[in-house]
């Protein structure tokens, strides 16, 4: 298990890679292994996103996704988030979505959730159609994070849209999510 110091270093490394990709306009790649790295790098993606976040994930696990950081993002002007789930959360699988129900209601909700009919072999997240985290092994949470590569981001966005269109909408009630912020 990584110590807090190691995780701070890892997070700093991911933030620096993101900053370097913004400053130079070039691609930067970071590897991530295990749930702690996954959480750190997902935090970096969520906090750096400005307009749009899209995630294809298992059940939006609260072990990986920080509800308060996601809330901060969704409170921003014009922020939109789309989440594609492999399966519905239950008592054994706690989802951070249960704390975000308030963003799923209304005619134009900031948070939209859908469910795939068949589980995906690969999970990924896209921030502002610019930065992508691709989980190549969903069990061990091993992933590759590509900052600032428009080719990879476009490919992921295209795939996400096609999967999104074929998926089933999920309501806050179905997730058992609270409708209060």
């Amino acid at each position: 298990m990584a110590s807090p110091v190691d995780m701070t270093e890892y997070r700093t490394m991911a933030e620096n890679a993101l900053r370097a990709s913004r400053a130079t306009g070039s691609r930067r790649v970071v590897s991530n292994r295990g749930p702690e790295h996954a959480r750190a790098v997902t935090d970096v993606l969520v906090t750096s996103a400005e307009r749009h976040l899209a995630f294809l994930c298992g059940y939006f696990s609260s072990d990986i996704f920080d509800a308060s950081k996601t809330r901060e993002f969704l409170d921003g002007p014009g922020a939109q988030m789309s989440v594609l789930l492999d399966h519905m959360p239950d008592a054994a699988h706690r989802s951070a979505l249960s704390e975000l129900g308030a963003y799923m209601v209304g005619d134009d909700p900031k948070l939209r959730v859908r469910r795939l009919e068949h589980p995906a072999t690969v999970h990924f997240g896209i921030a502002d159609e610019r930065d992508v985290r691709i989980e190549t092994d969903t069990q061990s949470r091993k992933a590759t994070v590509v900052f600032g590569d428009p080719v990879v981001a476009r490919s992921a966005t295209r795939k996400f849209k096609s999967l999104w269109d074929a998926a089933v909408p999920v309501t806050a009630q179905e997730l058992g999510a609270s409708a209060t912020r």
């Binding site: 190691d6 890892y10 490394m13 790649v29 068949h118 690969v122 992921a156 795939k159 096609s162 074929a166």
Partner: protein, 277 residues
């Protein structure tokens, strides 16, 4: 550490000013104006003592200053980062969780060995091993770290030589190594002076205690000057080596990142095919 170097230099300058203005200046004033130095013999004797005192003071200042300057230059020539985070990331990719345990160098070595035994002799593995050498904590006199791993990588003596070169130049900038060098210089000076005093140049009976110390200080100045030139030479060579390693790391990083990004894109495309999207 920079602050310590500057502080040491400040103290030396302060000592020099104190001695020149305080001790020597006051002695000169006393020598000129005190009635007891009215006779020419006493005046000459006092002037001689004063000259010897000055030699001792400046000799000591030069010796201490030389050692301090050697340490300071050696330390300041050390680039303040160790082959950058790109190398760390590459090492992590090549050897697993290296980044999480950077301080545990022996553990890292085992991982490096395991990666090499698994026949992962790729360029990133090699660069990662060089990075490991650069962050591996070793004694300053150990010039062949990771020797087994380097030999296991193959490519004959070239790898071993390059690894040794990196280790030497990285160590040369380390504070411990510079301190070691300074200590060695001081010891050399002491033995050389002792040798000079006892066997070659000086006769303690004739010259008395002052010239012995004076010559010791002068020798110290000479040897620290040699050490200073040596450290500067190592620093320059080290900077050149670091530059070439950094460039190699950057190339390997780009290759590795390209490969990872391509692999990730391919996986995303395959996901759609599996789901029939």
């Amino acid at each position: 550490m920079r602050a310590f170097g500057l502080l040491a230099l400040g103290v030396l300058v302060g000592l020099a000013v104190y001695h020149v203005l305080g001790v020597t200046g006051v002695s000169a004033m006393v020598e000129h104006f005190h009635p007891k130095f009215d006779t020419p013999d006493l005046r000459r004797l006092a002037a001689d003592e004063n000259r010897k005192a000055l030699e001792v003071i400046f000799g000591t200042i030069i010796t201490l200053g030389g050692i301090t300057l050697t340490c300071t230059v050696g330390y300041l020539s050390l680039p303040q980062e160790r082959f950058s985070e790109a190398a760390q990331r590459l090492a992590q990719q090549a050897f697993g969780e290296m980044y999480q345990n950077r301080e545990e160098s022996s553990e890292q070595l085992k991982r490096a060995q395991a990666a090499i035994e698994k026949n992962e002799k790729s360029r990133p593995s090699l660069i990662a091993l060089y990075t490991l050498i650069s962050i591996h904590s070793i004694a300053p006199w150990t010039f062949r770290p990771c020797h087994k791993q380097l030999q296991a990588l193959g490519n004959g003596l070239r790898n071993v030589w390059r690894g040794t070169r990196i280790a030497v130049f990285v160590r040369a900038g380390d504070v411990s190594c510079v301190a070691w060098l300074a200590g060695l210089t001081a010891l050399t000076v002491l033995f050389a002076a002792l040798f000079m005093v006892r066997l070659v140049a000086l006769d303690a009976v004739v010259d008395g205690p002052w010239p012995m110390i004076t010559d010791l200080a002068q020798l110290g100045a000479l040897f620290t000057l040699v050490a200073l030139v040596l450290v500067m030479g190592i620093a320059i060579a080290r900077a050149v080596t670091a530059q070439s390693v950094r460039r190699a790391i950057e190339e390997a990083r780009e290759q590795e990142e390209g490969r990872l990004a391509d692999e990730a894109t391919r996986l995303i495309d395959q996901t759609g095919e599996v789901l029939g999207a």
